[in-house]
Amino acid sequence: MKHKLSPRLPSLRLAKSPTGINGLDEITLGGLPRGRPTLICGGAGCGKTLFGIEFLVRGALQFGEPGVCITFEESARDLATNVASLGFDLEKLQAAKKLYIDHIYIDKSEIAETGEYDLEGLFIRLNTAIDSIGAKRVLLDTPEALFAGLSDVGVLRSELRRLFGWLKDKGVTAIITGERGTGTLTRHGLEEYVSDCVILLDHRVQNDAVTRRLRILKYRGSTHGTNEYPFLIDQHGISALPVTSLGLNHPAPSERISTGIAELDGMLGGQGYYRGSSVLVTGTAGTGKTSMGAHLIDAACRRGESAIFFSFEESPQQIIRNMRSIGLDLGRWVKKGLLQIESARPSAFGLEMHLVRMHQLLEQHKPKVVVIDPISGLLPGGSEHDVHGLVLRIVDFLKHSGATGFFTGLSAEDDLQTTSLAISSLVDAWILLRNIEVNGERNRVLYVLKSRGMAHSNQIREFLLTSQGVRLREVYVGVGGVLTGSARVAREAEEQREQIQKEQENRNRELTAKMALHSLEVKIAKLQAEKQARENELAAAVGEGQAQRATRLAERAAIRQSRGMAAGNSGNSRRPNGLEGKL
């Protein structure tokens, strides 16, 4: 016992067989239980057989697992014809020994029951089929038909129980389909025998559009998505759409991309949106939402990135023509293969179809920028809840693929801040456009309502659609409120006039001061000259005085000499000075 346990430990986790069906492997976290039967049940026309066939075909083509299809209702030929429209070539697969189809039919009128029997013949046929191509996958569609052909229910039940056990022993991954009964999952209670995995398919009509849904009722030994997931059957087979299977673990690049409008980049911290973020632009009719999307696309294509424009209102030609009027030539990006414009009326098909179409295009083109214009256009396609779920899935998917999503939303005039889809909390940035009617004109203004993870402007800007594209202008915010349009222009002119006036005044004052200074300087020069004159006068006066005194002394000496006073009177020779004073 112990010896057996240890080598088996690694295989304790339930092995799974990938179905290859879009989205289903994500919901089932890897596929159907390997080596066990799975019951697919649902009403008529819900896609049970197709589900099974796709499981076999994808197994054979993608996973190298040949498959056996035992059909109880359709002939092999009918089956091949029916699924050919989905791109499955059953006959080719049969020729390549990757698929074996056996049609088992019972005509009750041909059969007489005359005692005890079992269904060993079925087992033998199944076994032969499986062994002939080494099948790993089996589809039984639907063994309930046996109940219509054979009357001994007791035998049938025990034989079916034996069959499912036998399939398990055989180690094949089987799909058993069953028609939905009233009050039970299948008419004959197949769910009693197949209890490892039960998948319920369903289709309802809502607003004239059919919505198919898929739910995993039970998956023994594995976690799985438990919601109802919409799915679709189109030319590529089944596509299931996991709502939140992607989870909230998408990458968050810090790279920024330009909005295509320089001024708006400036409002968003100077660099624009985050790459891979979701941007919502709402506004009333004619506020320029589409133009903003076109700018974003133009900027992306200029960088050489691919983009997809989903339009629910305008045809591609119309979009290209209209955007040319604001100076954006989207036509050349289309020609270059960078831009794909997809137009469809919201009512063209159901919500799921829209979603799947988007999914497919996104998978195919792997765009970096996706514009959906307008997302509110989808609203008539389903209930608010459905649309909300749809948008959630788009946002999730875009984020996961790293593409920047740009959604426009039409909002009602009186209720600008509630988007009808209540998706504002899903998006990373929300830009609001609105019209302001004043002074007999209507002007557009823009503001950033929120922008997660970056500094952003709190300003309201005027939004102009010019022949060179979108321009944003400062608006005048004053006592009278926000001024836009001609009022703003008038205000700007007035400001300019005031400015000129002020400049003139300044120049005048400067001039006056300069003149005053100059006159002072002149005065100073004049006084200086006067001072010099006085000084000169003073000097002259002093010099004259001395000269006169010297003359007088000389005169006195001459007089004294003439009076005979000896010049040789040496005693007197020192005196003159002392005498002078007395004189």
Binding site: I111, A112, E113, T114, G115, E116, Y117, G121
Partner: protein, 117 residues
């Protein structure tokens, strides 16, 4: 043992060699299960009692020739296939209900036993 059985069943085929038999029957079995043996002995008894040499029986063991199951759309074991006379009919089970077997073989008209569900 098996070979002996088939040989035995072939023996009643020989006497009416000149005219082709009215009844051409095939009995499908899967190995020597008690039910198969039961069916075989029931068949022999019915044939000898009611068809009196005017028949041919082929016994096919699906364990040996599984690929033959698809041709006659065999599901239940044992199955007796009445290939001739037309219309072809399948009689499943161990053939213990002789009346029904005879109806199935068109030896007796169906209305005769219609009451028996």
């Amino acid at each position: 043992m098996k070979a002996a059985k088939t040989a035995k069943s072939k023996s009643p085929r020989r006497p009416p060699k000149a005219p082709s038999p009215k009844y051409d029957l095939r009995l499908y079995v899967a190995g020597q299960t008690p039910r198969s043996l039961q069916a075989l002995s029931n068949l022999k008894r019915i044939c000898e009692e009611h068809l009196a040499g005017n028949y041919r029986v082929e016994i096919i063991d699906l364990l040996k020739k599984p690929q033959l199951a698809a041709g006659d759309q065999i599901l239940a074991i044992p199955t007796l296939v009445k290939a001739i006379p037309k219309p072809a009919r399948k009689i499943i089970g161990d053939l213990s209900n002789t009346e029904r077997v005879l109806v199935g073989l068109d030896v007796r008209p169906a209305r005769f036993t219609a009451g028996k569900g």
